[in-house]
Amino acid sequence: MSALFPHRHLLGIEGLSAKDIVSVLDTAEVFYEVSRRPVRKVPTLRGKGVINLFFEASTRTRTSFELAGKRLSADVVNISTSTSSVTKGETLLDTLKTLEAMRPDVIVIRHPSSGAALYASQKVGCSIVNAGDGTHEHPTQALLDAFTIRRAKGRLDGLVVTICGDVAHSRVARSNARLLGMLGSKVRVVGPRTLMPADCAALGVEVFDRLEPALEGADVVMVLRIQQERLQGALIPSLREYSKTYGIGPRTLRYAQPDAVVLHPGPMNRGVEIDPATADGERSMVLEQVEAGVAVRMAVLYLLAADPGTGMTAG
């Protein structure tokens, strides 16, 4: 905990102030530079332990947290549930208590249940970072998206950001809407009615049914993944129809600003929510997002795990 970021955990964007968010983004700029040096590693978290506890499949988020910890010289351990005692019926609480006894400084947790990170923070003494809990929040994704947008556009304030797709099931959308709204962006959401959340008003976003007016004048287009594993029942008629009505490609992007950038949190369903040429095109920020992810997660781990020191002077 520090004056710069007065929190023990990162559970969501909710609970952070605009100042906290700017602290993370500014700190991430420093780590962005570190990742481009010949030696991409600093000794800052030497002797600290970070456990990545993932109850859901993940490549980029887990790898990103792992590299972030390693580039800070922390000891990083990855646990995925398919290879853990969870398969033998261990409860989340027992798993957490067992890991806590190994004295990590940070546990990064991803879990299919909303509220799992908050629960963990109430049960263990170390810092908890939410790497995605159910349909609730995914704060580091929102932070890295904001970092990417700020680098591309030079600001967040006053930008029009359109979030397209399955907003109801998307923790990414929820965290992003909160964060961007707090920093002065105008956030719109668009998608089939069945995929719009009930609490749009609470999120402070403008809701659209049709893609074209939602994209009109947008500076940033944030495309969400159609989460086939989370879509229970017939919320959309077919992927083909979805693609025709809500897919982002050259035709629909004409409505956005000429210099609009396109973000996608990945993994992409090419040809469903995003046209392959757009995904690989010059407006696409997809790979920039991945690079930003490591820097932002380094910043988060640094702000949570760096010691309140002895007050010794440097001289």
């Binding site: 004056a3 710069l4 700029e29 000794p43 760096a306 010691d307 010794m312 002077t313 440097a314 001289g315």
Partner: protein, 184 residues
């Protein structure tokens, strides 16, 4: 609280910087492979002054970089009241260079240790030198500067105020009072 006592005025600082610039160029065997790296924050304006003095004497503008040691501190960054990290910026290839680390005041040597570690993450310089404007004593590590503007024993309870900012009246003063968080 006593009033601050001035130990170096603007003219004295200018003369010292000129002398340091000549010494640095001489020992580095000319300016061709020379580069300066200021340690944030106090070393950055001094590095700029040195570069100006070298350019005046030799007609060559040597490259200048910056290192921030926050990530390399041995007491973890949040020991500072403001743990905000600044950027390190070295836009030239350090390999094969005669590199001069520059800081305004040297005390324990811990900052220099951290700065060397940071610097070596950018490559392998041919040689690393250390240039400080003022050595105030109180070393805690076996590190000595190669180029020293002046030596002044300042008791641990007193504080050195260094102002080398461009456009400002440059001065170094000794003041009573607790150490600043950045160890100066």
């Amino acid at each position: 609280m006593h009033a601050a006592v001035q130990v170096l005025d603007a003219d004295a600082i200018a003369r010292t910087v000129r002398r340091l610039a000549h010494e640095v160029v001489e020992r580095a065997g000319g300016p061709s492979r020379l580069a300066l790296v200021g340690i944030r924050r106090g070393g950055v304006p001094l590095a700029a002054l040195l570069r100006g003095a070298i350019e005046e004497a030799e007609g060559v503008a040597v490259p200048v970089g910056t290192v921030d040691i926050s990530l390399y501190r041995d007491d973890a960054a949040t020991a500072l009241p403001d743990p905000k990290i600044g950027p390190s910026r070295i836009d030239f290839d350090v390999s094969g260079r005669e590199l001069v680390l520059v800081d305004d005041v040297m005390q324990t040597g811990r900052t220099v240790r951290a700065a060397i570690d940071c610097l070596l993450d950018y490559g392998r310089p041919r040689r690393v030198w250390l240039c400080v404007l003022l050595d105030r004593g109180g070393r805690e590590l076996p590190i000595a500067p190669d180029f020293v503007g002046g030596v002044l024993d300042v008791p641990a309870g007193e504080r050195l105020e260094v102002d080398l900012r461009p456009g400002e009246e440059k001065a170094i003063r000794v003041a009573a009072g607790p150490e600043g968080g950045d160890g100066r």
